[in-house]
Symmetry: C2
Subunit: 218 residues, 2 copies
DNA sequence: GTCAATTATTTTGTATACAAGATATTAGTT
DNA sequence: AACTAATATCTTGTATACAAAATAATTGAC
């Protein structure tokens, strides 16, 4: 692979937690992971500390490290916060956005369109993330930008699922149009509302998806 | 002190970074800190990984750990986000808040009043934090609550300074009144605006404080 | 005397060793 | 056969040892 420093190991483990290699509550065995990564326990433990600090694992003293996947309730809460964060980004961006940035945003949206036409959900997801990241950046507040990116990353696996739902990509696209329009007009309230709704739709879709799974399980 | 695990060491160092024991760019010497805490380098390094993960230090490979204090610009950005986060809390709380919680909020405000009367800025600060924390909690979104508490903690040292400014405590109190009123009325927009403004005042005060320092230095 | 190059000294990164606590296993009792 | 007690094994937490890189110091050339 690559060089295996604590940061790298942490990133790899993070990825594995995100993509579902580890389920909620799984214990992360230090010796096993250490030899798996080809390092000693020392750098591996440093990685575990990082992961706990970012909320991905729980460290129970003398017991070990346990992965902490967000449950349905926490996910809904995270979606709600994401929606509000993006709304704030949009409101700030509406005032500060340059013409060049607007062009960039339209270009990103065109790429989304192409992905949607090709029925390529993975590509759509990537381009969609760029679209949103552009708005974060154009908020002009880099702290806000970083926080938004962090949460975007954390919600990635769950957002991704929803794009596969029938008709979601075209709907998402029309919502993007409304967002671009509001930003072009410099209407901060409209932009904030459009983006908040856009993200909230995902939260709601997610909710109904969970309800469906729950019903199917009973 | 207490038991010196990685978490504890990280907390102690965090406190020291917050209260200004270390200035921006200071290198954190592993061996020196280790013997200072009475432990070996191993748990201390684990603590440093935690601190980097939470953004308090920068870890440069083969160079060491350097403390990262937010500069004036980043602080302003953080205040802006704090204001928006609290506004969201208020909006959600306005709908969900129970009578008991409202009473609790009024009680917290009464305690602020007492601290203000006694000219006790430290006490006022503590009670003020409780007032705000109650609103975070009453948002009904514990993820949002935790994020708000995290940022509140990080801004603590900088908010604190401003209470010493003449007339800030009484002004803060009247703003609290308006917030309680809006929450009582269940007016989510008014509550959100009142809280956003309340926090933004601190950001602006901070800005003028910085400008004053800068002017004095030239 | 100043600069460059070489050597010496720190300092970081990681492996390993060992102590103490937690879990699993076995033996013994009813 | 089931429950408890004692023992054994495994795992974590931390100290220490050592290699490699970075910094400081020293020497030598001009």
């Amino acid at each position: 692979m690559e060089q295996r420093s604590a940061v790298n190991i942490a990133n790899s483990l993070e990825q594995m937690i995100f993509d579902g290699t580890f389920a909620d509550g799984d214990r992360l065995d230090e010796v096993r992971l250490a030899e798996q990564f080809g390092v000693s326990r020392t750098p591996l433990r440093e990685a575990l500390q990082r992961l706990e600090s970012s909320g991905l694992v729980t460290l129970i003293p003398r017991r070990g490290a346990f992965v902490r996947q967000p449950g349905p309730l926490e996910l809904l809460e995270m979606f709600e916060v994401m929606a509000e964060l993006e709304a704030v980004c949009a409101r700030l961006a509406a005032r500060r956005m340059s013409d060049d940035a607007l062009d960039e945003l339209r270009l990103a949206n065109t790429r989304c369109q192409a992905a949607s036409d090709a029925q390529d959900t993975d590509l759509y997801y990537m381009e969609n993330e760029k679209f949103h990241a552009t708005i974060y950046r154009e908020s002009g507040n880099s702290f806000l930008e970083q926080e938004s990116l962090k949460l975007q990353k954390r919600l990635r696996p769950f957002r991704r699922q929803q794009l596969r739902l029938r008709g979601r990509m075209p709907q998402s696209l029309t919502e993007h149009e409304a967002i671009v329009e509001a930003l072009t007009a410099g209407d901060s309230n409209a932009a904030a509302n459009a983006l908040r709704d856009h993200v909230n739709v995902q939260g709601e879709r997610f909710q109904s998806l969970m309800a469906g799974l729950k019903a199917a399980a009973s």
